[in-house]
Symmetry: D2
Subunit: 257 residues, 4 copies
């Protein structure tokens, strides 16, 4: 049994700091590094790629909408082809810093509003897939488990890492419970640990309304933008390893199974 | 005898248009494509890379300062490492569009204020060289003929294309005559043609004050941002070819001789 | 009988030029000047305000979404209060250039996607109204004739200028015919002139499906961003004046009738 | 005896936070609010203006270079007129939020690299003065005590508040000791308090090399961008008030004496 732990990193910008990258890097295996559109800047990207390389953590591009003011969390109308080109631009830029750090790009994970939009919108999904494929068909695409983009990417022959959220509740149909629902975010660390171990060992979760559901999880998203978030990363990792589960970068996992 | 003709391209941005890329592409052999910092955007980059590929024109990155408002023509103070990271970012981004267009990046030519600064500032020159080398040591770096960056890049083992300006007068020491000097820009097409042919066949130019000087020219810069600029490109190319000079992309020239 | 002719101006940005402001300024009476969010920059704003002042043309702020890359034509999700603050920011900035040019701000006209969104979305409309009112309750708000924002602004006690589009067809219900409908844009100048005169003298228009409809028009929008657009402005103005209709800035019209 | 205490505020941007405005606002009398060029955004500006108004703190515009990536700390070449227009734009924008918060703009203090440049460059100083004067000749301009811009602004008839830095050492000629000199930044709170009291009560300071110098101080700059900076503000204010010195906003001080 194997799992990857990923976290968003490199979200600082100029004089502005977000995240505790130096801490969380110790517990994760794949880093989604912001590419300067919704967060990050060239110097942050360089530094973060080097940090990941140094810790044996897989370097990923984390492309978002060009919306620093909204941190990529706001929907933005795009004209056909724009999403493809936004993704290509950011993958290319991130790849340069991976190379300069002595490694290469492992994966691509869309960010925020773009991640959500591609989970349910076929057009956006196809543009993302086209971008990744035309850049490097061996790149791993990280997407919401069970989403439209996950299905389409597998059909297109990409390596797909399906992502689950340890601290988020799910509906019985396998979708994330909307944040406005009470109980949609799980704050109890013990519960999070227990759910994570069950999910990885059995492929099952209990939904927000008490039903058992199956969920494919190649990688778990560890949030890093709140102070102390790395402690949850640490505890999740320790719980997994205690169960004999291998925690390893996406590049060493068997995907598309 | 061989020479490359290069031109800045892909300088449009969103609803804004600069240049007549569809015309000038017919007469040049290498395209310096803006990378979204001083000009250009992802969709323009995609389109311009495809246009170059279609015409057999070498695709180059044309990185500048992050200054769309000033078109990269204003000096910007940078902290150590920033120029390296700006260059890496833009090379990477441009490379993605070259790949997606079915080709690969041929060269890098810094733009505007950054080009000028690197011509005479060793620190800036070294950051540019480091960026290119760490991304891909086989990339060709296009720089001002006889400049500091040209010397340092050759010493660093990079392939260097030294650039001359057909419509600009030179001082006797080989530097460009400052634009404020009368006669610094040559508007007479016949004179431009004559100078170009003499330069490529003999390696010599007559300076603004009437002295003969030697100048290395692997590539000639053809300005494309004034309406009708492509006509000068056409006439220069025809004059060269009439003399039996091969006009070909940088990648097929013998450099560092 | 009186009417204002307005046009978007000051849409150039740095090295990029859009519009022929120096021509169209001769035929209009109110200028909607871009405020640096979707187009324009401080130097363009200064120059355009001075140009309007010199021609006795009313100076207006033309605030849009912060989306230079999309020219303010793309929908952008905003969180509550953001539209109000975007509008305040841009009104204030434009006002400074009006003052520096020796005049004062006459009106505010939202741009592009924001204009359209406020025409039908009550929340956006209320934020715009709040911004204008809290900045200066004597400013005139220019909005789509018959729209939600027009109604709400009048209820809020603002001076409202209802806008019609001479070269656009209307549905029988008074809404603009969508651009994808054949015949939605009227290219025949004679037809445009005839419709304009009928509209101002009778308050009536013939809809795209042949029905007569009433439309309130305090100001007509003259497009300026296509080459030669000023010729249509000239012909419209001459047709109106030949009929004895006074063409005058919004500030000298009787509004909210 | 009277003095104003000013601090930079409103430097957060979107999801990014800098400063502890809610704390420091309790101890200062004038707020320099970032205007969206080097820091700040419309929603932060609105919130910060309201916070200042609520605490009876004077609202000021804190315009900088358009350089969010460099926090306005990098020199940027500008073409003639650009500084004037950058200042007008930002003053106007800030003024809108002052109005919307139920107050009006009290002062303007240039930021970072622009502040430093105007301290010694006559052209930049004149552009700033022209911008302030053409917007509102009653605005107070806050500048480095004894600088070129201070002299020129007084000659131009502006109200000038000369600024001193409690935690910075000075050269014997009245200039700030460069940061690279040992001892240029004073970290000992007791020393800072003592210097401040001496300066306000006697107009004298001891220079870094032990000489007594005279310095005009209408306002003291309290840094707010390091965690806990408000504690220094508190201690400085208490020391001043213990000596019977009135701490009050610039608008209530007698300037240009």
């Amino acid at each position: 049994m194997q799992i990857d732990l990923n976290s968003d990193m490199g979200e600082s910008f100029g004089a502005y700091t977000i995240g505790e990258d130096e801490n969380i890097i110790n517990y994760i295996t794949s880093a989604n590094i912001a590419c300067g559109y919704h967060a990050g800047d060239p110097s942050v990207m360089a530094k973060t790629a080097a940090l990941a390389k140094q810790h044996g953590v897989g370097v990923g591009a984390h492309p978002g909408y060009p919306d620093l003011a909204g941190f990529g969390r706001r929907n933005l109308q795009t004209f056909p082809g724009e999403i493809r080109n936004y993704i290509l631009y950011q993958i290319g830029a991130m790849s340069a810093f991976a190379k300069a750090a002595g490694t290469s790009l492992q994966h691509v994970k869309p960010h925020g509003a773009l991640y959500n939009f591609a989970s349910e919108n076929e057009g956006a999904a196809r543009e993302i897939i086209e971008a990744v494929k035309s850049y490097d068909p061996d790149l791993i695409l990280v997407v919401l488990s069970g989403s439209i983009v996950a299905q389409l990417a597998k059909q297109a022959g990409l390596k797909v890492a399906q992502e689950a959220f340890p601290d988020r509740a799910y509906l019985a149909n396998g979708q994330l419970a909307p944040r406005k629902l009470p109980g949609s975010v799980i704050h109890d660390e013990a519960v999070v640990r227990e759910r994570v171990v069950k999910l990885i060992t059995t492929g099952k979760l209990i939904s927000i309304d008490g039903k058992e559901l199956s969920l494919k999880a190649d990688t778990l998203c560890i949030h890093g933008d709140t102070p102390g978030a790395w402690k949850l990363a640490k505890t999740i990792r320790e719980s997994l390893e205690k169960e004999g589960i291998t925690v390893a970068p996406l590049s060493s996992l068997t995907l598309n199974t």
